[in-house]
C-alpha cells in the first residue's frame, strides 16, 4: 500500500497529461545525459530489474496478502537515473496487465521513481551514518515509501475539484464532458445538500494500510539486501564508500 495503481478516468485530464509531460521530459534529459554506449550496455540490466519489479508486483505473499514493489532495492542496485527509466517501463507493462491505468502511467512512474531514487540516496546516507546494513536499508525503504505514499495522496488531492464535478454530475446533463483545466463552477443549487469530497476518510484508510506496507517492505528489502550482501557484495558497491 505504499502506492496505489490509480485507475483510468478518475483523475482530471490536466493532471495525468502533466504527469506524462514531466516523465517524457525527464526521460529525454536522462537519455541525453547518459552516454549511448553506457545506456545500451546497461539496458539488459535495466530490463532484468524491471522484470523483477513486475514479478514482485504479481507475487502475493499468501499469509499476509501483500505484494512488494522492490523499487528501493532496484534503486540501490541501478542508481537514481536508471531506476527512473526502469519504473517507466514497469508501469507501462503493469498498465498493460490492467494493474493501474494507462492514462496515469506518467503519475505512477513519478511516484515509483520517487521511491527508488529517494531510497538510493537515503540508503547511502544512512549507511555512512550507521555503518549497519539492515537498519540503513530498513530506514531508507520506510522513509522512501512514506514520502511516495504522501505524494500519491497529494496527487489525488489535486483532483478534488474534478471529483466534486463528477459527484455533482448526477444532476447535470449530457453524456460527454471534456473539460480541460476548467475551474470548479457553482454546482450547488439552493436547497440541495452539498456533497463534499472527503480526503480525510481517504487518508484514514490509506495511511494505516500504508504503514503496514512500509514496515513490511522495509523488512523484506533489508533481508533481501542482507542476502545479496552475503553472496554478491560487489553489487551494492559499499566498499567504494568505506575507503
Amino acid at each position: 500500500m505504499s502506492h496505489i495503481h490509480l485507475p483510468d478516468g478518475v483523475l482530471p485530464v490536466w493532471l495525468w497529461a502533466l504527469g506524462f509531460v514531466v516523465v517524457i521530459l525527464i526521460w529525454m534529459i536522462l537519455v541525453r545525459l547518459m552516454k549511448k554506449e553506457d545506456l545500451t550496455k546497461r539496458l539488459p540490466l535495466l530490463g532484468m530489474m524491471a522484470a523483477v519489479m513486475v514479478l514482485g508486483a504479481s507475487v502475493e505473499i499468501v499469509p499476509i496478502a501483500y505484494h512488494v514493489n522492490l523499487t528501493v532495492i532496484s534503486g540501490i542496485l541501478l542508481g537514481p537515473s536508471l531506476i527512473f527509466l526502469a519504473t517507466f517501463v514497469v508501469n507501462v507493462i503493469l498498465a498493460l496487465f490492467g494493474h493501474g491505468g494507462i492514462t496515469v502511467i506518467g503519475l505512477n512512474t513519478l511516484m515509483f521513481s520517487i521511491e527508488g531514487a529517494l531510497g538510493y540516496f537515503l540508503f547511502h546516507l544512512f549507511w555512512r551514518l550507521l555503518r549497519r546494513l539492515g537498519p540503513a536499508v530498513f530506514l531508507a525503504t520506510f522513509l522512501a515509501l512514506t514520502v511516495s505514499t504522501f505524494s500519491m495522496i497529494g496527487v489525488v488531492s489535486l483532483g478534488t475539484s474534478h471529483y466534486e464535478e463528477l459527484i455533482h454530475q448526477e444532476s447535470g446533463k449530457g453524456i460527454i464532458g471534456f473539460e480541460f483545466g476548467k475551474e470548479k463552477e457553482s454546482h450547488h443549487k439552493e436547497g440541495v445538500p452539498e456533497k463534499e469530497v472527503n480526503l480525510r476518510h481517504f487518508m484514514a484508510i490509506i495511511l494505516p494500510l500504508g504503514f503496514i506496507g512500509w514496515v513490511l517492505e522495509g523488512m523484506i528489502t533489508a533481508l533481501i539486501t542482507r542476502y545479496i550482501h552475503r553472496l554478491r557484495p560487489d553489487l551494492l558497491r559499499l566498499n567504494e564508500e568505506t575507503r
Binding site: V10, P44, L55, I61, T103, L223
Partner: protein, 208 residues
Amino acid sequence: MIQLSYLDYIAVEGKGFLHRLSPKLKIVGMIFILFAIVTVRNLPGLFFLYLFLLCLYFMARVPMKIFPLTLYPLIFAFLFIFLSGFQLFFILLIFLKVLCGSTGVVLLLATTPYPSIFSVLGRVLPSSFVMALFLTYRSIFILLNVLEDTQHALYLRGGVQWRHPWRSLTNISNAFGHLIIKGIDASEKMYEAMLLRGFKGEIHYRRE
C-alpha cells in the same frame, strides 16, 4: 504470476476474430476506449461501453480463466469510495470507468502478442524505450522459470508457514534476493549473447 505466461500463450495461440485483426487497429481501438473512459460522464453511456466490451470478450473467445484480471483494479477503485463520502453515483461511475479500462486492456493483451504491440509502439516511441520494454518482456519469462522453481522449493520444504512468520518472511526475502542475483547474472549473459549476434544498440522487429 502464472496468468502472465498464460495471457501471452492465448495471445499467440488464440483463434478468435480479434486475434486475426491487425495490432495497429486494436491499439487505435484501445485509444478510442480510453478517450470514452475519460470523457463519458454518465452511467448509461459507460454501462453500454462495458456491455460492448463484454460482448467483444466473449465473441473473441478469450478464456474465462483470465476474466478475474479485469476485476482486479476494482480493489484500488474501492479506495475512492471513501473519497466521495459514499456517494452512489460517484462510486458506480468510478467502478464502470475502471471496469471498462481493465476489460479493454485485457482484451488487447489476450488477443495481441507483446512483440506485435512493441512493433507498433516502435514506430512512434524512442528506440531506447521500446528496446527497454522488449528486454523487460524477455526477462520476465527468464525470471518466471527461476521464480516458479524457487517458489516450489520453498513450499515443498515448508518455507512459508503461518506459525513462523519471521522465518517465512526471511525465506521469501531470500527467494527475492536469489531472483535478483540470478537476474543480474542472466542480464550479463544476455548482453554478451546480444553482442555476439551483432547487436549495435537497436533491436529490429519483423513487421508482421
